[in-house]
């Protein structure tokens, strides 16, 4: 393999994408924490990395895991009293430069997580269900509702 590039080069090239994906996956408020966790984990492992063929894929995989960790940790917390629709109002304001992920970030939490885990993290329904602490059917429904809503927004 060729020598690993300076880690800064990975940040310069991929930090914005990782942030956008995380905003979609966990919402703007929690994306910052996941972003820090993602890059600290990457930095820890980086010198031992034996395959530099797809550094972007490697970073996004770490980001997906951090997003899943986040949802699992949230799943164990007491359910918020607010109804999902009330919560949707306090999540995020879409910003134009985030593109579709901004719209994903504005979905209600369950739908948002399902869409991000499915399409950003490429997880199967069973794993999305495990990450969200719900049944595979419920995960499928959240995903379906999320997609429907995105289609409407984009139409």
């Amino acid at each position: 393999m060729t020598a690993l590039p300076p880690f800064q080069a990975l940040l310069d090239e991929h930090a914005a994408d990782v942030m956008a994906v995380l905003r979609g996956a966990v919402g703007r408020a929690d994306a910052e924490d996941c972003f820090q966790e993602t890059f600290l984990a990457a930095l820890r492992a980086y010198p031992m990395l034996s395959d530099d063929g797809n550094l972007r894929g490697w970073l996004l995989t770490i980001a997906y895991r951090k997003a899943i960790d986040h949802h699992r940790a949230n799943g164990r917390r007491p359910t918020p009293i607010a109804e999902p629709d009330e919560m949707a109002g306090v999540t995020t304001e879409p910003e134009p430069d985030d593109g579709i992920w901004a719209l994903v970030g504005a979905l209600p939490p369950k739908q948002r997580a399902a869409v991000a885990l499915r399409y950003a993290c490429d997880l199967p329904h069973a794993e999305i269900a495990a990450a969200l602490g719900c049944s595979p059917d419920a995960a499928r429904r959240s995903l379906h509702e999320g997609i429907k809503r995105l289609r409407k927004e984009l139409a």
Binding site: L4, P6, Q8, L11, A15, Q36, P47
Partner: protein, 185 residues
């Protein structure tokens, strides 16, 4: 995003994951690249050199955990500014010598002891490094100096009094010698 990246750099440093911090610094000769390890200043890249290549070299030879972290180089930048203004005669910076070994490192340490405004020739450096006949090797050591300006290889001349060489170009070497001469007289 900028705040996120700054925060990341701080946390990386706190967790001992910032092996090489770098920044650029202005100089009268153009932009310098400064790099430090937790041990000390490890590299000064002169204006004629490609920063990207220098960083790749540091990633390969020191550690790939290379991050832009200007705050870590504030002190070095401040001292260099004062030096270029003629107001600082001796750098007080921890140095990391890991990019030089053996005879070269001994030669560079000898160069590091040449006082401000003074010069030595390559033979004297070879002698200080433990091998008076290794004059050519002393010249190579100067040429490979990873920390120029701070380790003042510009103060090494030919025995004949000729300028010898300089990585940043002979006009830069001449200008540094001129600056130092002006300040001590």
């Amino acid at each position: 995003m900028k705040a996120s990246l700054e925060h990341l750099t701080e946390r990386a440093a706190a967790e001992g994951l910032l092996d090489v911090a770098y920044a650029t610094a202005d100089s009268p000769f153009g932009s310098l690249l400064l790099a430090t390890t937790p041990k000390g200043l490890v590299k000064v890249g002169l204006p004629d050199y490609d920063s990207e290549e220098t960083l790749e070299d540091l990633a390969a030879r020191v550690s790939p955990r290379v991050l832009e972290a200007p705050a870590r180089l504030d002190d070095a930048r401040r001292q260099l500014d004062l030096y270029f203004e003629g107001r600082l005669h001796e750098f007080d910076l921890p140095l990391d010598w890991q990019l030089s070994r053996g005879f070269r490192r001994r030669a560079l340490r000898a160069i590091d002891r040449i006082p401000y405004g003074r010069t030595r020739n390559y033979t004297e450096i070879a002698r200080s490094a433990g091998n008076e006949r290794a004059v050519r090797a002393a010249g190579t050591a100067c040429g490979s100096n990873p920390i120029p300006i701070v380790v003042p290889c510009h103060r090494v001349l030919r025995s004949s009094g000729g300028l010898g060489g300089y990585g940043g170009g002979l006009p830069m070497k001449e200008a540094l010698l001129e600056l130092e001469r002006a300040e001590i007289h």
